[in-house]
């Protein structure tokens, strides 16, 4: 995969986020790396408490007050958002990056008409009021809202849940952003509406050409919509790869189990459904070694002792697992195995520097492993 020409719009490096709680700091995100190549759809999948929404919040720098970004970088179009001033950040929000939220019932202002809200967000544009109105109406039409002109004067409570989510998408794409972050945008909707929204989103993504960071716990939706997938568990990225890597050749036991558990994937009707026993890890008092080890059926001694490295499985496909390292070709040491592979959702950074291709190729047969903190090759 050579997508160096395109580059990544978003590169998250070694991002760590903590919440302060009564029991002590809760390590919501630890050492998260993620790339969103321009014009692609990257899915973040994980169960509750995996930190996927925190990731979205950190990129936008819209986190709750008790939250602290302790380390890392969020590079968007070449600049580090975590070091940008508030004014710079505001200039990016809604202009270069926009966002669609989970609950369509509460994410729009209840006392302003949607027309007002859609015109307000164009405040940076040097357009007349009529032009702004026309742009809003056009977007409403494109997301499939019938009678768009008349609907501009309506208030959010006069729309159904599905229609509100369409409005939210229209707003998010109105300013032609380079990146759209969608945080569980269809979770609150019924299945038949969910499909409608997903398709509309996909069509719009193609025509607008923006990249999407799509967060969901719904494996089917991820499979359908995304080009690349990042799997999160307990505040860490445990696996990344193309959508086919993840769904056809999962490298991490968690991903494997997660796919197994989805009742939609079980072709034969079964009365004994697979599960993942145990509870999600306590992020205030983390277990030693691998976060998934306490629930992992394949865990061996080393899993409970050392934090696993990111193991290079194939071009662009990595898993944070001791066992993957073993399976990958015996280089299970977890030592520094060479430069990062320039592939997968991380492709942009490496490829843009022009070195990833050689270093990736140069690793030859062995599975390249990298320490978890490893950044992009310089």
């Amino acid at each position: 995969m050579r997508r160096g020409a395109k580059g990544a719009v978003l590169e998250v490096r070694a991002l760590s986020v903590e919440f302060s709680t009564a029991r002590g700091p809760l390590k919501a995100l630890r050492n998260v790396d993620l790339d969103v190549p321009a014009g692609s759809v990257v899915g973040v999948v994980g169960e509750s408490g995996s930190g996927k929404s925190t990731l979205a919040g950190a990129v936008m720098r819209l986190l709750a007050e008790n939250t602290r970004i302790t380390a890392g970088e969020v590079r968007f179009e070449g600049r580090d958002l975590l070091r940008a001033s508030n004014a710079e950040m505001r200039a990016i929000r809604g202009e270069r990056i926009s966002m669609v939220f989970q609950d369509p019932m509460t994410s729009l202002n209840p006392v302003l008409s949607i027309g007002t809200q859609m015109v307000d967000i164009q405040y940076r544009r040097d357009r007349s009021r009529e032009e702004k109105n026309a742009r809003a109406v056009e977007m409403l039409r494109r997301v499939g809202i019938p009678d768009a002109e008349r609907r501009m004067a309506h208030y959010p409570h006069q729309f159904s849940g599905g229609m509100r989510q369409r409005v939210a998408i229209a707003m998010a794409l109105e300013t032609e952003p380079a990146l759209l972050i969608a945080d569980e945008p269809t979770t609150a909707l019924d299945a038949t509406l969910e499909v409608q929204i997903i398709h509309r989103l996909k069509d719009l993504q193609r025509s607008e050409g923006c990249a999407i960071l799509f967060i969901s716990h719904h494996l089917g939706v991820i499979a359908e919509l995304c080009d690349y997938v990042v799997v999160m568990y307990g505040g860490e990225v445990v696996e990344r790869g193309t959508v086919r890597d993840i769904f056809h050749r999962p490298g991490h036991p968690y991903t494997e189990k997660l796919l197994e558990c989805d009742p939609a994937r079980i072709a034969d009707r079964s009365r004994d459904l697979p599960t993942i026993p145990g509870d999600v890890p306590d992020l205030v008092a983390l277990p030693r070694g691998c976060v998934f080890a306490p629930r992992c059926a394949k865990a061996v001694d080393v899993c409970g002792r050392d934090a696993p490295p990111d193991v290079w499985l194939e071009e662009g496909h990595e898993a944070k697992c001791h066992l993957a390292a073993k399976a990958g070709g015996g280089a299970a040491s977890g030592f520094e195995g060479g430069a990062a592979s320039g592939a997968g959702p991380r492709a942009g950074a490496g490829a843009a520097s022009g070195t990833a291709a050689e270093s990736g190729a140069g690793e030859g047969a062995g599975a390249g492993t990298r320490t978890a903190s490893g950044g992009a090759p310089a």
């Binding site: 200039a91 994410s107 202002n109 409570h157």
Partner: protein, 314 residues
């Protein structure tokens, strides 16, 4: 919208009718003859009978209530037996004084309290917020008549900055305004606290709502977010509180009018109670209650203007 408006107005009217009936039947539920209460125990039986007849107290209670309601509807609140003047005239004569005091009191409280609440909410946990928090709670806790007395003691007696008693010279607006300062301060002080606290609480609540995060995610300027997206919603409970505030302030006005020896409905009712002039007491209570109902209804209507969800309710 019209449906909502009608509903509110009808509800207000029903409350007034129930209030009048309650008030009227209260006189009869209380042991003892109201005529005796008015005339004192030593009045002659003939006089009592005459007054009984005159006040229509010989009819059955529901008929009396209906008659009374009919009279109230035509603006007839009965007659002051002592002065032989219509009660409505007596009360309405005093009402403007009280209304001026109440409006001034709540006015300065609004001007100070609402911005204070906003500032506290925006700069949450700052020094300003903490000080404002303690001050508001203290303002709320201290009764207005104690504030009034202490204010007289401090500003009128000790410092001699402001006049202690009276409403000022008749016709001299400056003097009247000067005399209004202390009473309005006493009446409004606790409202600074109420308003600051309520505005702060509702601002914080709205600031935490999902749609504000959406507005932030679109990079809207903080000014726009606070003034257009947050305040518009946060002000709703404040409007309701102000509507009710009129009624609560009338109570404080009674004390202020007595401490500062000012004319007004409070003073009127106080004097009427002392002379057990119950038609005047009833009239004054009635008119202030109507004032209260009108102001709460008005605040509901203003809320409906701001909030489209209320308008399309059902």
């Amino acid at each position: 919208m019209w449906l909502y408006l009608c509903k509110r107005v009808v509800l207000g009217a029903v409350i007034v009718v129930v209030a009048v009936s309650l008030l009227y039947s209260m006189i009869h539920l209380v042991p003892g003859d109201p005529v005796k209460i008015v005339l004192g125990p030593r009045a002659s039986p003939e006089l009592q009978a005459a007054i009984h007849e005159k006040l229509g107290l010989n009819d059955p209670l529901p008929v009396q209530i209906l008659n009374f309601l009919g009279n109230v509807a035509t603006g007839d609140l009965g007659v002051d037996v002592f002065k032989n003047r219509p009660v409505a005239d007596i009360v309405l004569e005093q009402l403007p004084h009280t209304v001026v005091l109440v409006v001034t009191g709540i006015g300065w409280a609004m001007l100070l309290g609402i911005p204070l609440g906003c500032a506290s909410a925006i700069h949450r946990n700052s020094v300003l917020d903490r000080i404002a928090g303690v001050l508001s709670v203290s303002c709320i806790a201290i009764p207005s008549f104690v504030v009034a007395i202490y204010a007289v003691m401090l500003f009128a007696v000790t410092l001699k900055w402001l006049p202690a008693i009276g409403a000022g010279e008749r016709g001299n607006l400056a003097s009247q305004a000067w005399h209004l300062v202390l009473p309005a301060f006493a009446v409004g002080l606790s409202w600074v606290g109420y308003l600051a606290r309520l505005v702060r609480a509702s601002m914080l609540e709205i600031l935490g709502e999902a749609h504000v995060r959406t507005a932030r995610a679109f990079g809207l300027p903080e000014r726009t977010i606070v003034l257009k997206y947050v305040l518009r919603l946060a002000i709703l409970p404040t409007i309701t509180l102000l509507g009710m505030g009129i009624g609560i302030l009338i109570s404080s006005a009674v004390f202020a009018e007595i401490v500062f020896a000012r004319p007004g409905v409070g003073r009127l009712i106080f004097d009427a109670v002392s002379t057990r002039n119950y038609p005047v007491v009833m009239g004054a209570v009635l008119i202030t209650t109507v004032l209260f109902v009108v102001s709460t209804t008005l605040s509901d209507l203003i809320n409906a203007l701001v909030d489209p969800r209320l308008r399309s309710e059902e």
